[in-house]
Symmetry: C2
Subunit: 126 residues, 2 copies
DNA sequence: GTTGACTACGTACCTAGGTACGTAGTTTAC
DNA sequence: GTAAACTACGTACCTAGGTACGTAGTCAAC
């Protein structure tokens, strides 16, 4: 299939497909005539990229995972995955703290009557 | 005090101070002689910005909060804060899903013996 | 045989929050 | 009185993951 049908099936934009080509994430398919012919191989590859993104990997890391897969370097794949989990852990903790902080402020704001909003005074003074 | 001492006390870089000036987040202090004189007012303002960042607000939103504070618009401040909490909620849920997914994969990888690493095969097939 | 849709390619632009650099003026130390 | 350090200002650059646009080629339909 040609690029626009492929992009539609893969659930990304044509520009994104080209971007992945440029970044070396997605092999450029052979031409059939003047245009590139995309196949299920490419669909699967895009699906893999999307899933790895959902798992928190960056595009660079996804490229790296592919290389390690090719070289069957299981230990390194696991190391990278564990690092990523640690990073997710940290980010989650940060966001939870922000959320807790903010929810306390909003609660205080609801309780306050005609005083100035505690959200800003707390941010200023705590 | 002059900008470099101020930046040090505020815990940001000189470039960041200037950036905040450019973005209209931090008022440019009066000159004393040829150079700007920073005071505790500016220190407090930077501290406020840092805390609001920790609470998950973007610099644009922090500017907006200041304006609403000046106009004493408590309802709008609370609305923005609740929106932000919702956004934090969503982001946290996404990260937790990524983390859960990844931890299952790493666990499967540890259990596997001489098979190919399940992390990549799962990403490919699930 | 020309219009419209599609493709390929290259380059610029976008957000967010800065960072870095070059130039020119000023102040401080010796 | 001059060299080092500091300041002000403007502009360019950075990451990440794309998006948008301009040009030129190609293909199918009418």
């Amino acid at each position: 299939m040609k690029i626009s049908q492929f992009a539609k099936q893969a659930g990304v934009s044509v520009e994104t497909v080209r971007y992945y080509h440029r970044e070396g994430l997605l092999a450029v398919p052979e031409n059939s005539g003047s245009y590139r012919q995309y196949t299920n191989v490419h669909i699967n590859k895009i699906a893999f990229i999307q899933k790895a993104k959902l798992a928190g990997f960056t595009l660079d890391e996804i490229k790296q995972l592919e290389r390690l897969d090719a070289s069957r370097d299981k230990d390194e794949i696991r190391r990278i995955s564990e690092d990523k989990m640690q990073l997710l852990e940290t980010k989650i903790a940060e966001l939870v703290m922000a959320q807790t902080f903010l929810s306390e402020l909003v609660l205080a704001c609801k309780k306050s009557d005609n005083e100035p909003c505690p959200i800003l005074t707390e941010l200023r003074d705590t």
